[in-house]
């Protein structure tokens, strides 16, 4: 059985300087090529996911080899690393429209659930999400795609109602791009 050509590597745990340097050095030593990645800090907790490819590199790389290369990261027990083979899955566009949803208000359980339920109900897909708790203020910013033909105004109205039900306000705006 041949080795997968694409891996999703996740690293999560307590933040400290040098995590990315160590992780990418281990991957580079295997000849893996970094593709898409995202990393952030969540209240001091490091969270990173990256896709790395063996295609075009120095040949097939087994998952066990990737894990071995990243093993120094987990040596002190503050970080967890997982390596998962994945397939390249480009998402075909089917006329979706893109939107930015902002929700903010007093913190309480259930805000995210109440609001994103309305997106899911029309087949909408959230493509990026950030939430922040700053004191009493809870903030959600999401980027989402709505299927072609969906009435965005009606979705916005449903979201507004859901938000009002949990005591927050919502704004749904077109994620317009400037043509230059």
């Amino acid at each position: 059985m041949s080795s997968p050509s694409l891996y999703a590597v996740t690293v999560i745990g307590h933040d400290r300087p040098g995590i990315i340097a160590e992780a990418t050095a281990g991957l580079a030593d295997l000849g893996l090529n970094l593709e898409d990645s995202t990393m952030t800090l969540l209240r001091g907790h490091f969270a990173m996911m990256l896709l790395c490819s063996a295609a075009g590199g120095s040949g097939p790389v087994a998952a066990a080899d990737v894990e071995q290369a990243l093993s120094p990261l987990v040596a002190d027990g503050d970080l967890d690393v997982s390596v998962r083979p994945v397939t390249d899955q480009p998402t075909p566009s089917a006329g979706e429209t893109s939107w930015v949803l902002t929700v903010h208000g007093g913190d309480r359980p259930g805000i995210v659930s109440a609001v994103v339920r309305e997106v899911a109900a029309v087949g909408g897909n959230i493509t990026d999400l950030t939430t922040r708790l700053a004191g009493d203020l809870y903030l959600l910013v999401a980027e989402l795609d709505l299927p072609a033909g969906v009435d965005a105004t009606a979705v916005g109205t449903a979201i507004d109602a859901a938000a009002e039900g949990v005591g927050v306000t919502a704004t749904l705006r077109s994620a317009e791009a400037d043509e230059l």
Partner: protein, 185 residues
């Protein structure tokens, strides 16, 4: 006298009342999400509110603008003063406006904004860098139309948004355009 000249000559002394320093409201206070009522610019309560906004702005380090919602009043009144800000190009000193509206907006620029009412977060917001605004001066009620640019244009749009119950959070460019604030002004 043009609108620009009139604004540049305006000072809070015209209001004839002493401004009070008020507490600044923070999100998630509902008033920040409330569309402000249009006001009578000549009404004594409007004049006092304008004076209070200027006084509160003056004592707040780094503050270049303050809207009525930020002192707990859902009204379309705000003040700005970007004259000391390094990003300002055109500016008109300290002034307050009632019932202001954007007439023309062009040349969007993205910039990172903070707000006294959202002290723990900043956000990347695209705003017009060329702006024409119409409003009414508190006290005399004169209608003024003024063109501005750069940082004063951004400040005016930020304050007009407050008057419409919108925070910069409602206009951030995307899910990764919100940031924890690291320094406090």
């Amino acid at each position: 006298m043009s609108g620009a000249e009139r604004l540049a000559s305006w000072t809070e002394a015209e209001l004839g009342v002493e401004g009070r320093v008020l507490d600044v409201v923070r999100a998630p206070s509902p008033v920040l999400a409330t569309v402000g009522d249009r006001v009578d610019p000549t009404a004594p309560e409007t004049v006092q509110l304008a004076a209070d906004l200027v006084a509160t702005m003056r004592v707040s380090p780094g503050c270049v603008g303050l809207a009525a919602q930020q002192v707990g009043v859902a009204a379309q009144v705000f003040c700005v003063d970007v004259s000391q800000h390094p990003k300002a190009r055109t500016h008109h000193g300290t002034f307050a406006l009632c019932n202001a509206e954007v007439l023309e907006a062009s040349r969007n620029d993205k910039g990172r904004e903070g707000c006294m009412s959202v002290p723990d977060l900043t956000g990347d917001v695209k705003r017009a860098s060329r702006l024409v605004v119409r409003g009414f001066l508190p006290g005399t009620g004169e209608e003024v139309t003024v063109a501005t640019d750069a940082f004063e244009a951004r400040a005016l749009q930020h304050e007009i948004d407050h008057c419409q119950g919108l925070l910069f959070l409602d206009r951030v460019a995307g899910a990764h355009a919100v940031h924890a604030r690291r320094t406090y002004l």
